[in-house]
Structure formats: structure tokens, C-alpha cells
Symmetry: C2
Subunit: 171 residues, 2 copies
């Protein structure tokens, strides 16, 4: 899809058909993710692609109990691989750049999902410690987003956006 | 441009032609930015579009002294409007969501710039306090990125990306 249409029609999808997402589409999503920019090209990210139903159930129970989550046939847990940024940029790498870089990767995944006829949602309000434990993550691998993905049941309306005059200042 | 081509061919542009960027293109960039997703649709962002040559010179001198910066005919300073996220989500809003949301907006701007024949670069390593002072920002408006923009002199080669096997785990 043309970018300008894509960026305006992407929605947060919270309802999925009972249909598996093929691996070649997952690979497309990951390829879009790794083409995100990153500070010093550090690429401080790791993606856990979870299709295992038991693990998805556990994540639902212990880290993100929203009812719609359980419908998703796959979820990608996006982690900031902190040392990759911290090694070069210290505190600013740890607390800013690796968060920004992984967020750019998430946005690429969400846009790519829409482009492929899929839908996803950026979940941030999960229990970080419980998710870390379920995935057996090392201390410096920080889960920063969960993206449940699947074929959308419907396309929600666009949430209202602030007008440009309110969010921009020209100097 | 088709998204999948766009996302792979976007480059960090650090050399610009001596040619102004028309305001209608700047508005396209801001429109793409405001269609980024944000936690609770808080839209915790503000964009300072700077074409004033004196101010760009001051930013160059006091906040980001890289020589190539001075060639850019325009720069967008992206700020996290912290209270918009903090009000609803507390510490996680302040230190995570508003950073992620603004990063998604930056990525939309960079992709949109490429789509419009422009180029930009995500600058993170600037002096935050000096930039804040130059723009007269309130305490809770945090500058998180500078995006110098213009017509690219050339398209650099893609920096090497880690292979998917190295950055993804399938479960």
C-alpha cells in the first residue's frame, strides 16, 4: 500500500479471526523491524515471536489480562537489548536511545502488518517483571512492548487526533 | 511509494541541497507524525518546525555542533509533552510511553520524508539543556529528537543490519 494511505488507515486491532499467521508474513514483519533506524546503528533489539498457546495463556494470565489478548494467534514481544546501546552511549543509551530505537521498530511492524492485511496493537501496560520471568529474560533484556497480531475481525474508527495547529509551532 | 520498498530504502540523510522545503510538505510530515499511535491516545508530542536561520545557527553552535547540520534548510525538534502521558500513567507514562510515542512519530516523519523525496536524520546526541533554553521550553516539554530535513545530495548505502536469526527467537 502507498505509505501515505497506510499511515492514516493503520488502526489498533484488538479482535482477531481464528486463523493462523503464516511464518513468511512474520518474517516480513521482522524484516521491516530491523530496517528501523537506531542510534549508532546499534540495533538494540530482540524479538520473541510467540505462537505457543500455553505461553500465550501464561502471558495473558500473569502479564496482560485483557480479555481480547487471548484471541491473538501470535504475539511479538519486543525487547530492548540494553547493553548494545549502553556500551556506546552510557545512561542516555540505556534510558533513551534503546527505548526510541525499539519504538521505531514497533512502528515499522505495525505499519507492515497493516500492509500485509494483518492487524496488531501496541501493548505497553503489561507486568514487566512477570513477562520477564515467563520468557526467562536476562537482566539487561527489557521487554518494552507486546504486539498481539492476527487477521482483524473489523477495522475500528480512527481515534480523534489533535489538529496540527495545537501540536506544532513554526519558528 | 509502496511501504515495503520505502521502509527498506529510507536512509539517514546528512547532506542537503541548497533548496527550501515547501510548507505543504512540512504539513504532510506533521500529519504523518500525528497519525502515530500513542498510549491511551494521549498524543504526548509537540513539534517545533524551525526554518529561522539564526535559530538553526544557535542550535548548531550550542546543542548539536556536527558540521553537516548547518546545511539543513529546516529542522523539526520533536518534544515529549510529558504531562499528557504522566497524568494518566504516572512514572511509566513519563519515562516510557511518551518516549515511545514520540519515537513512533519520528519514524513516521522519516518515512514520510523519504516518500516525499526529502531526507532526514534522527539526531539524538544533542545537548538537551541548551536546546531547551534556546527554544524556551517549559520543564515538562522534553526535546527527544532533532530531525534536520531537506533535499538529499545523495543516498548513502544501507548500514549493515543484523540477520533475523540473530535478533529473533521463535517460541
Amino acid at each position: 500500500m502507498e505509505f501515505r494511505e497506510l499511515v492514516r488507515t493503520r488502526r489498533c486491532i484488538r479482535g482477531f479471526k481464528d486463523r493462523e499467521v503464516p511464518d513468511d508474513l512474520i518474517l516480513e514483519l521482522l524484516d521491516a523491524a530491523r530496517f528501523a533506524p537506531s542510534g549508532g546503528n546499534c540495533q538494540p533489539w530482540h524479538f520473541y515471536v510467540i505462537k505457543n498457546k500455553d505461553l500465550l495463556d501464561q502471558i495473558h494470565k500473569k502479564a496482560y489480562p485483557a480479555s481480547w489478548f487471548i484471541e491473538a494467534p501470535v504475539a511479538i514481544v519486543v525487547c530492548a537489548n540494553i547493553p548494545e546501546s549502553e556500551r556506546r552511549y552510557g545512561e542516555r543509551g540505556r534510558n533513551l536511545y534503546c527505548i526510541q530505537d525499539t519504538a521505531a521498530a514497533v512502528q515499522n511492524i505495525l505499519l507492515c502488518a497493516k500492509d500485509l492485511g494483518l492487524g496488531g496493537c501496541w501493548v505497553g501496560a503489561f507486568n514487566e517483571e512477570n513477562l520477564r520471568e515467563l520468557l526467562g529474560l536476562k537482566k539487561d533484556m527489557r521487554p518494552v512492548a507486546i504486539i498481539p497480531l492476527g487477521y482483524p475481525v473489523s477495522e475500528p474508527q480512527a481515534p480523534k487526533r489533535k489538529p496540527i495547529e495545537e501540536i506544532a509551532t513554526f519558528i
